[in-house]
């Protein structure tokens, strides 16, 4: 997913974060701390950072609670600082992938994670290779 309106800068010198997280309930918290630290020196606005942190928490939570994730699998969090206010984040697990479906308005208490991603990220998508990448 990518947040912020800025256009990507050149391929050289893009600040990058890459960490591996154990697939357990602590992973969302660790991912938030990592992304917050990564953005510390950037000019991303506090409001954008709050939204970005929330989206990272949602996606990593999905990776942890996804029933098809093998129990001992790990999650890889990658972030690229593309422009002043544009961060690209990739969360990869070893799940078998999923097809995003629109949130069902009748299902009032579920599906907020992807709803947030859809409404708040500038772009987002799912890739399936050897795992699932959001």
């Amino acid at each position: 997913m990518t947040t912020g309106p800025g256009a990507p800068r050149g391929a050289v010198d893009i600040p990058t974060l890459r960490i591996k997280l154990e697939c357990n309930p602590q992973a969302p918290s660790l991912a938030r701390a990592a992304i917050t630290g990564f953005c510390e020196s950037s000019e991303i606005s506090p409001a954008s950072l709050a939204t970005l942190t929330l989206l990272v928490s949602e996606v990593v939570t999905n990776a942890v609670v996804h029933p098809e994730s093998p129990p001992a699998s790990e999650i890889v969090l990658c972030a690229h600082h593309l422009a002043e206010d544009a961060i690209r984040v990739e969360v990869t697990d070893q799940g078998s992938g999923f097809t995003p479906v629109p949130r069902d308005p009748r299902q009032r208490d579920a599906g907020y994670g992807l709803y947030l991603l859809e409404t708040q990220a500038t772009r987002w998508g799912v890739e399936q290779h050897s795992g699932t990448r959001v």
Partner: protein
């Protein structure tokens, strides 16, 4: 790489009114603590349950789901749920972006 999420609940009961203050981050690693706490308190049949979120420093949709469940349960069971908004943007973002800031029984708007 272990960084336990700081999370604490303090409580206060005045007659049939129960107040629980939540300090720290509410997410996948702490949600069960709050769910168990609330279940225990509701077992005492209070007429009012107030959750003070003032010092809640972060919340995502994991916590939102629990609060929506509680709101629905309060209406079904006939007790009153009140939420006191957090003073932290990182906790209020999920309420604001989903519209839950107006749909849930907040005492005053989130700051």
């Amino acid at each position: 790489m272990v960084r336990p999420t700081a999370f604490e609940i303090t409580e206060q009961t005045n007659g049939e009114t129960h107040l629980s203050s939540i300090v720290g981050e509410l997410d996948l690693s702490t949600i069960k603590v709050l769910a168990r706490h609330v279940d225990t308190k509701l077992g005492e049949n209070p007429t009012t349950l107030t959750l003070d979120l003032t010092d809640l420093t972060f919340m995502d949709s994991t916590g939102l789901r629990l609060l929506i469940d509680l709101h629905n349960r309060s209406r079904r069971e006939g007790w009153k749920l009140t939420l006191i908004p957090s003073k932290h943007e990182a906790a209020n973002t999920v309420f604001r972006l989903t519209g839950a800031d107006t749909a849930l029984p907040f005492e005053g708007p989130p700051s």
